[in-house]
Amino acid sequence: MIVGGIVVITSKNAVHSAMALISALLAQSGIYLMLYAPFVAGVQIILYAGGIMVLFLFVIMLISIERTAKERQFNKQWLVGIAAAAALGGLFIAVYTKGKSLFPEGRVTYGEGQNIQDVAALLYDQHQGMYMFSFEIASLLLLVAIIGAVVMAKKRI
C-alpha cells in the first residue's frame, strides 16, 4: 500500500499514477480484511477500485498524456505540505508508542461470519441501531451531489 502510494505521487504518467492508486486501494481492502471487516473490504473493492477508479482512468485517457508529462509537477506549497506530513507522522509515532495508554485495553473482535449482519444491526436495529440518522444524512449528501451535477450539466431543466 505504501509502495503504491509513493508511486502515485512520483510517477510522471497520470495513468501509471492511477494504476498505483488502484493497487493502494486494493491493499487497503486487504487491511480491512485483516481487521475482520469483510463487508467494508468488499465495498471498498466495488466502489473505489471498481467504480471510481474506472471513471478516473476514463477521464485521464481523454487528456493528452504527452503534454501533461512535460508539465512541472511540484507546486509552491511544499513547505506547508512538509509541515502537514510531519504533523501526521508525529501523530502516528505518538499513537504507536503510547497507544496502550491512550486507547481502551483490548481489541473488539467480531465473528467473521456475522459481519454483514452486525453492520446491518448497527444501522437499522430498533434497540442498538444508533447510526441510522447519520446514514440518512450521508445519503442526503449524495442526493445533493447528484442534483448538483444534473443542474450543472443541464442548462435548461
Binding site: 469483510p38 463487508f39 468488499g42 473493492i45 466495488i46 477500485a49 471498481g50 474506472v54 482512468l57 454483514i116
Partner: protein
C-alpha cells in the same frame, strides 16, 4: 508423516468447505481442481461455440483436426503459444504487459466462492456475492488499460465503450442481485445472507427457486440479470467493445499470441462466472430440479442416475458418429480416435453409476448442467441477435433495466413484508 495423513483425512469427516475447515491441503486441491476444470471448460466451450455457430449457419465448422474437429482447440492453443508476441513500438510497455493479467486474475479469482455443492466450494465467504461482483468489476480496469496502452485508435474507442457499458450495466445487475438478497431474508429470524452457499440453502429452505418466487417478480429480476450479464461480459448482442465491423477487434486489436489468448481465457471464464452467479441466485445452485413435485427416495435415485446417463449419452453420440465415419482408409485413425473418445466418455458414465461416486457428484453435475445451459444461451444469442447500436445500448441499460430494477426491488420488499399478513387474511376469509 503420520500427522500429515491425519491432517489430510481430518477434512474428509468434516462437513464443510475446505476454506471453512481451514485445511490448507484440501483448499489447494480444490483450487487446482477448479482451475483445471475451468480450463477444460474453456477449451470445450471454444470447440462447442465454433461447432454450434457453424451448425446454426448450416456450415460444418472445424472438421479437419481430429474427428469432427475435436482437437481443434488444442491446435489453436499451440498456434497461439508459438506465435510471435508483438508489443507495438508506441505502446506503454508496462501497462500493456499488466493489462491481460488483471483481466485473467479478476476472472479466475471469483471462482473462490462459487458453490458447486454444499461442501464443494473452495470457501464460503460471508460477503460471497459482494466479493464476486466486486472482483469481476475489476476486469473492466484490465480492459480499459489494455485499450489505452495499445496507443492506437480502435483499442482506445473499444476500451471507452466497454468501460461505459460495464459500469452502466453493473448498476442494473446490482439491483437485481439485491432483490434476491431481500428474498433470502424471508425466514423466521428475518436475517438474509450474502454468502453463495447461504443463498442456495435459503432456496432449499423456502422450497422454491428464486426465479419462481413472488411470480413474476423473481422472473423479472432474473431477466434483468440475464441481460446485464451478457453486457458485462461484452458478448453479442452487446459486443460493441469488440465490434469487428467497426473496431477491428476492439480493445485487444494490438494483442497477439499468448497475451491475446489470456484475454480469450478471461472472457470465457468470466462468462462461466456470471452464469454461475445467475444459477446460484435464481436457479437453485446445486439443487436438483423438481424437489417438491417429484420427491421421495425413488425420485432421488432416478435423479442421481442423471450424471452417468448424460455421459453415456455423449458416449453413444460418439459411437453413432464413429459408425457414420467414411470407410475410406485415410479416415481410419480418425475413426479409431472418435471410438476411443466415446469409450472413455462411456467409462466415465459407468463410473458415475457407482453409489458412493453418485452421491458425491450429483450436486456438481446439476450445477454444471445449469451453467452449461447458460453457455449454450450465450452461443445462441451470438448466432441469432444483431448487434445493438451504442445509444440503444445505453438506453436499454439506463432507461429500461435500471427503473425496472428499482421498481422490482421495492415490489419484492413489499411482497416479502406482506406475504404473511395476506396469507393470514386469506385463511381468515376462506
Amino acid at each position: 508423516m503420520r500427522w500429515l495423513i491425519d491432517y489430510i483425512q481430518s477434512y474428509l469427516s468434516s462437513n464443510q468447505t475446505p476454506g471453512a475447515a481451514g485445511n490448507w491441503f484440501w483448499a489447494t486441491v480444490y483450487v487446482l481442481l477448479v482451475f483445471v476444470g475451468l480450463s477444460i471448460a474453456v477449451i470445450a466451450m471454444n470447440w462447442l461455440e465454433r461447432k454450434i455457430l457453424a451448425h446454426m449457419q448450416v456450415r460444418l465448422g472445424p472438421m479437419r483436426v481430429g474427428p469432427h474437429g475435436l482437437l481443434q482447440p488444442i491446435a489453436d492453443a499451440l498456434k497461439l503459444l508459438l506465435k510471435e508476441d508483438i508489443i507495438p513500438a508506441e505502446a506503454d510497455k508496462v501497462v500493456f504487459w499488466v493489462a491481460p493479467f488483471i483481466v485473467v486474475l479478476a476472472a479466475f479469482t471469483v471462482f473462490v466462492v462459487v458453490p458447486f455443492g454444499p461442501t464443494h466450494a473452495i470457501t464460503d465467504m460471508n460477503i460471497g456475492i459482494l466479493f464476486m461482483l466486486g472482483v469481476s468489476s475489476l476486469s473492466v480496469l484490465g480492459i480499459v488499460t489494455a485499450g489505452w496502452a495499445s496507443n492506437s485508435h480502435y483499442p482506445l474507442i473499444g476500451a471507452l465503450r466497454s468501460s461505459a457499458q460495464m459500469v452502466s450495466y453493473e448498476v442494473a445487475m446490482g439491483l437485481a442481485v439485491v432483490s434476491v438478497i431481500v428474498m433470502t431474508s424471508l425466514n423466521a429470524e428475518g436475517t438474509g445472507t450474502l454468502s453463495m452457499i447461504g443463498i442456495v440453502q435459503a432456496q432449499q429452505a423456502q422450497h422454491t427457486w428464486f426465479v419462481f418466487k413472488f411470480f413474476p417478480l423473481g422472473l423479472i429480476g432474473f431477466f434483468i440479470f440475464a441481460v446485464a450479464m451478457v453486457a458485462e461480459t461484452n458478448r453479442a448482442p452487446f459486443d460493441l467493445p469488440e465490434a469487428e465491423s467497426e473496431l477491428t477487434a476492439g480493445f485487444h486489436t494490438e494483442y497477439s499470441g499468448f497475451r491475446w489468448s489470456l484475454f480469450f481465457l478471461a472472457e470465457y471464464s468470466a462468462m462461466i462466472a456470471v452464469s454461475s452467479i445467475a444459477v446460484t441466485l435464481w436457479l437453485g445452485g446445486w439443487l436438483r430440479p423438481f424437489p417438491n413435485a417429484l420427491s421421495g427416495p425413488t425420485w432421488d435415485l432416478v435423479f442421481s442416475l442423471f450424471p452417468g446417463l448424460a455421459f453415456l449419452f455423449l458416449g453413444a453420440m460418439c459411437f453413432y458418429n464413429t459408425a457414420r465415419m467414411p470407410k475410406h482408409p485415410l479416415f481410419k485413425i480418425q475413426t479409431i480416435g472418435l471410438g476411443t473418445f466415446g469409450a472413455v466418455l462411456a467409462m466415465i458414465g459407468l463410473v458415475l453409476f457407482v453409489p458412493p461416486v453418485r452421491e458425491r457428484v450429483g450436486d456438481i453435475f446439476w450445477f454444471s448442467a445449469k451453467v452449461a445451459a447458460f453457455m449454450y444461451l450465450y452461443i445462441w444469442y451470438r448466432g441469432t441477435f444483431p448487434r445493438y447500436r451504442f445509444d440503444q445500448l445505453m438506453k436499454v441499460g439506463w432507461k429500461i433495466l435500471l427503473p425496472t430494477g428499482l421498481v422490482l426491488l421495492i415490489l419484492t420488499a413489499g411482497a416479502g413484508f406482506l406475504e404473511d399478513p395476506v396469507k393470514e387474511w386469506l385463511k381468515h376469509v376462506l
